[in-house]
Amino acid sequence: MNTEILGLMLMYGLVVALAIPLGHYLGKVFNQEKTQLDVLFNPLDNLFYKLSGIDPAKEMNWKQHLTALLTINIVWFVISIFILMNMAWLPFNPDGNPSMSADLAFNTSVSFVTNTNLQHYSGEGALSYLGQLVLMLWQFISAATGMAICAVVFRAMKAQSTETLGNYYVLLVRSGTRVLFPISLLIATILVLNGTPITLEGKDTMLTLQGDTVQVSRGPVAAFVAIKQLGTNGGGFYGPNSTHPFENPNYLTNITETMAIFLLPIAMVFAMGHVLRRRKLAWMVFGVMTVGFLLLCLPAVVFEMQGNPAITQMGLAQPLGSYEGKEIRFGAAASAYWAVNTTCTSNGSVNAMHDSMTPLTGMFLMLGMMINCLYGGVGVGFLNFYIFIILAVFISGLMVGRTPAFLGKKIEAREMKIAMIIALLHPLFILVGTALASHLLLTFPEACANWLSNPGYHGFSQMLYEFCSSSANNGSGFEGLGDNTPFWNIGCGLVMLLARYLPIIGPVAIAGILARKKYIPESAGTLQTDTSTFGLMVFAVILIVAGMAFFPVLTLGPVAEYFSIIQK
């Protein structure tokens, strides 16, 4: 078999094999069960609690959890803006990079706070090492935020008639110290061994083969890249992200980084199974996510390996597949695979130019972001999936002749209202955003002249992709879009903020309300949610909500582009 394909199968198989035990470990971390690593981490955690005056035994209800989450996020948001705007005179600036302007600092902070990591700058030239470290810290915080709040939802799903759902600070600290930190360390070590720099020294001087002297940017790259991948963050140390040879030196690091992208999102599903003591439910969720993921991944890989039909029509052979915008050291298949992974998981790091993918691959990438829960971001992917579960439970509950209930809690008008609003947000942000952009482009053609690098359908896809990426908190770009303008900065900034926090607040509120409700014991008439039939139902709901809302735009963008290419 083709070695490229074998490589993909190896990556996927390894991730699942690692994610299952890791999921159980995560479950233990969330449940505060004993693990062998307690000796190591208990003193560390206690130090954190003592330093910040946290009472780890204090129980919180869902509203207090959300308040804690938002408070932490706002405080660090302000700190990071301050640092980004004052980097020039602060320490750890060996290359003498300047401070950021206010609007760029705001944009960058929003982007990292929301786990989006859309970058309107190139790290090597625009950030001091302190700036990079602050953003690196954010990659930890935003990932831990997702994990902790997702753990709150797990607890709420398990709870019976209770208000209290554990302590948010404890969940946040434990997610950081016991999961993100040690695994990042491991990934960073692999990267360092393969040549990724890790240093606080400034630029190095190097003699090229041509005999020129060049200045090469260095820094704590390995540490930065590790958490960038692991926390589904995606913000690169260098402008070119993981296409840069220092961020992703070879095929082995490419395997490591690809695996890191969706290791935690899958592990979170199995963590749910452990916390709830419902392994079958976890497998149902994993199964639905996997089927969706494969339906996007397989055709994308095939299209990229087949090459560009426009080039084929010119009579040129493309034995290696479509190579425009791809790194030769990774190959077409691994690039397509990474691309689908990074868009499905709200990561957004890239190892190839997404703008250069063939039209339908572009569509699959956008679909990944439109659905945004086929594994999804760390923690938040499951929260998005949770909304789809609620909708599916409602419809299928009716179909079996009972008032719909999920895990023994009745789904009533209030929960439906929240679920429906959250399900609406994503289409709203993406469609209205893109519609505004299209409208502005037509109304003020001169002012917007620099927006699109391509006219027609592909240009449309570029705009659509940008809003998908913002609303999915993904952060990758269909580049080629001139996005450093007030419209794109403000528009995407707002979308990122709203699309980060509302889809966290909604599911937590639903789970919190359900947790308070009386538990209805199961009977033969109860809808089982851990069966493949119910999985099919969830899948259908995802298809309908995402597919139905985005069918027309996808038709006008990538589908129209595809047909116009093959029918030439």
Binding site: L391, F394, I395, S396, G397, L398, M399, V400, G401, R402, T403, P404, G408, E412, A413, M416, K417, M420, I421, L424, P427, L431, V432, T434, A435, L436, S438, H439, L442, G456, Y457, F460, K518, Y519, I520, P521, S523, A524, G525, L527, Q528, T531, T533, F534, M537, A540, I544, V545, M548, A549, F551, P552, V553, T555, L556, V559, A560, F563, S564, Q567
Partner: protein, 669 residues
């Protein structure tokens, strides 16, 4: 009264037809957000038609636009018609119940005769044999046999008497014998039937919690498609594809869930109507819905699980006593016994008491102290009663209680029977075995309930041993033996505390608290006013097994909503494939590849989709009114089955339907 009201009865259709226009008022339409948006769309299309009349050239031909307008208008009418026909059927059903009691003369105590419509709560009237009872009320004096066939369809007369739990009479029923004095218990126009008619008519119909949640879901989908349609305008401008207003409106109307939106209220009304057809009056739509969720069913043993009372099944003479003699003594001791058990003994003996000549008999009545009854004549004293009572009687007189009789007594009791020991002159002469007769077919019904996930609980005054035996034979899951009314209450509260929903049926005043506590309380129509007030349903047939039907009606109601929602949303796939290529093909010819149904022209494609969207509503009205059949095959299997029929069917049917309509339409375009 069980004559079926056909779905397409002429007068019903006529009434529903006019109602569907009347319901077009925006103030009424706004209750249903999905159809309200269709109404706005229809008005916009009317505007477009007028615009074209004033000379606009950009929107295509007048004929085409007017045709779209007409179809949208029909869509609205069809949806209104669905609701109207459901209302009309419910009203007709209730009216046929009410008709009987329209204006019956009522004779007051002072002899004055007034029409029943003037009776007020608290009035007292007198009824004699042959009279139609003018109003619902409670007997305050007397006893009468009453023919309730006008209400229940059951021709056997029933006894109603003052005091106790059988004191309630219903207006429209006929007194067959004796005379009763009745106090009116309701204000005119406030009987349960009147309330039910108001519920059906919509004036006091409130959306049930589940209906509200579903409306939110549907409104959410409608919002999504508003966003999709509105944003399509700038997208199309960007792609330089001209799209007419008619096409936008058509796309929108086809995508929003009009099928379920149009049928939703009809489904709810039909649920109450089906309950009424089963002769159950519901006090709210919510009660029917809750019935579908029931987890525990409390059933009285007598009348539900067993036929009426215990019956004598065997005579066992003591050693040395001839069977013939034993039977003769038994018959003598029972000839004055009016209890059903006593009568059943005579039945089993098959001896006419009159043929036995006894002089100056003295009948001994059953008392709580002696716990036996019998007869004294000449020098013989025959007694029959509970084993321990007879034992004491014999032992007091110095006779021993035979061991073989004691064994027999134990044997009968452990088989769920009731032993009656018979003694003559304080010597035991034998045992009569009384047994409960379990209703034929009841085991299957309980099995069905079990497969529905419902736990059945038998409530009985029997001792635990007998109760256990009958429970096991009938196949109920649990029982409450030696039950007092408080025990029922306790049991209900316990189950509810564990999160289960409980249904029960009751008739007596002392059932009222439990009826009120239960999530679904069905009061028998023969029961006391207090019981009827406390429950949320009234069963006109006084049939305790009715609960099972009520549960299935509730389940059908929810299922019909769920399956039609699925069907409606699944239809969107085909509609997209019909309309989207039609919208874009003019500007982007390569998108012809998406026209997988090969619809002939963009206009015919859009028309076909809109026509399909409209006619599917009336086509599904029968299903909405009849309800989707419930089968107790387990939730997952049921979901699989309904997903296959209504999900997959919902995907495929419109592809076929739209293509067929397109073939027809293309003849005219």
């Amino acid at each position: 009264m069980n004559d079926k009201i056909s779905l397409f009865q002429k007068d019903l259709l006529r009434e529903a037809f006019w109602q569907s226009f009347y319901k077009l008022q925006p103030a009424k339409m706004v209750r249903n957000p999905v159809m309200f948006t269709v109404e706005i769309g229809t008005l916009v299309m009317l505007g477009v038609c007028l615009w074209i009349l004033t000379g606009n050239q950009s929107q295509g031909s007048l004929g085409y636009n007017f045709f779209i307008f007409i179809i949208l208008f029909l869509t609205l009418l069809f949806a209104n018609f669905a609701e109207a026909i459901a209302e009309a059927r419910g009203k007709a059903q209730a009216n046929s119940l009410r008709k009987t009691r329209a204006t019956t003369p009522a004779r007051l105590q002072n002899g004055e005769i007034i029409p029943s419509s003037q009776l007020k709560k608290g009035d007292i009237f007198i009824c004699q044999a042959g009279d139609i009872i003018p109003s619902d009320g409670e007997i305050i004096e007397g006893l009468a046999s009453i023919d309730e066939s006008a209400i229940t369809g059951e021709s056997a007369p029933v006894i109603r008497e003052a005091g106790g739990d059988k004191s309630s009479v219903t207006g429209g029923t006929k007194v067959l014998s004796d005379k009763i004095i009745v106090q009116v218990t309701i204000e005119p126009g406030e009987s349960f039937l009147d309330k039910m008619i108001a519920l059906v008519e919509g004036s006091s119909r409130q959306k049930t919690p589940n209906e509200i949640a579903l409306t939110i879901l549907l409104a959410g989908f409608t919002l999504v498609f508003i966003i999709v349609t509105v944003t399509l305008k700038p997208f199309a401008d960007y792609a330089q594809v001209p799209i007419s207003i008619a096409a936008f409106i058509s796309l929108f109307v086809c995508l929003i869930p009009t099928t379920i939106g149009g049928l939703l209220s009809a489904i709810g009304i039909a649920g109450m109507d089906r309950a009424l057809r089963a002769n159950v009056i519901t006090k709210s739509g919510k009660a029917v819905e809750t019935a579908g969720d029931i987890d525990v069913l409390l059933l009285d043993k007598t009348g539900t699980i067993t036929i009426g009372n215990r019956k004598a099944t065997h005579f066992y003479p003591a050693q040395g006593i001839e069977l013939q003699d034993f039977i003769r003594s038994v018959v003598l001791s029972s000839m004055a016994d009016e209890t059903p058990e006593g009568k059943s003994i005579l039945e089993l003996a098959n001896v006419n008491p009159a043929s036995l000549s006894v002089q100056n008999p003295r009948f001994i009545k059953f008392t709580a102290e002696t716990r036996s009854s019998g007869i004294d004549y000449a020098n013989r004293r025959i007694r029959k009663g509970a084993a321990d009572a007879i034992k004491t009687l014999c032992e007091k007189a110095g006779h021993s209680f035979p061991a073989e009789i004691a064994n027999k007594v134990r044997e009968i009791a452990s088989n769920g029977g009731t032993p009656l020991v018979v003694a003559e002159n304080e010597k035991v002469i034998g045992v009569i075995e009384l047994q409960d007769i379990i209703k034929p077919g009841i085991q299957e019904r309980f099995e069905r309930l079990r497969r529905m996930g419902i736990k059945t609980v038998m409530v009985t005054g029997d001792n635990p041993l007998t109760a256990q035996y009958i429970a096991a034979r009938a196949g109920v899951d649990d029982f409450i033996a030696e039950a007092k009314p408080e025990d029922k209450m306790q049991y209900i509260k316990k189950e509810q505390a564990e999160g289960r929903l409980v249904a029960m049926m009751g008739d007596g005043t002392n059932d009222a608290p439990a009826l009120a506590q239960a999530d679904v309380g069905v009061a028998m129509n023969s029961g006391t006013q207090a019981a009827k007030e406390a429950g949320n349903m009234v069963d006109l047939d006084n049939d305790p097994t009715k609960l099972i039907e009520v549960v299935e009606i509730g389940k059908q109601l929810l299922m019909t909503r769920g399956t039609l929602t699925t069907f409606s949303i699944a239809n969107d796939i085909a509609k997209y494939f019909a309309i989207l290529p039609a919208l874009f093909m003019v500007g982007i010819p390569s998108l012809q590849s998406l026209n997988i149904m090969q619809l002939s022209t963009p206009e015919s494609a859009i028309l076909s989709a809109v026509i399909f969207n409209a006619i599917i509503i009336p086509l599904l009205i029968p299903l909405a009114l009849k309800g989707v059949t419930y089968q107790p095959i387990g939730a997952s299997a049921l979901l699989r089955r309904n997903l296959l029929i209504y999900g997959l069917g919902g995907v495929l049917v419109p592809f076929i339907g739209i293509k067929m309509i397109d073939v027809l339409v293309s003849f005219f375009i």
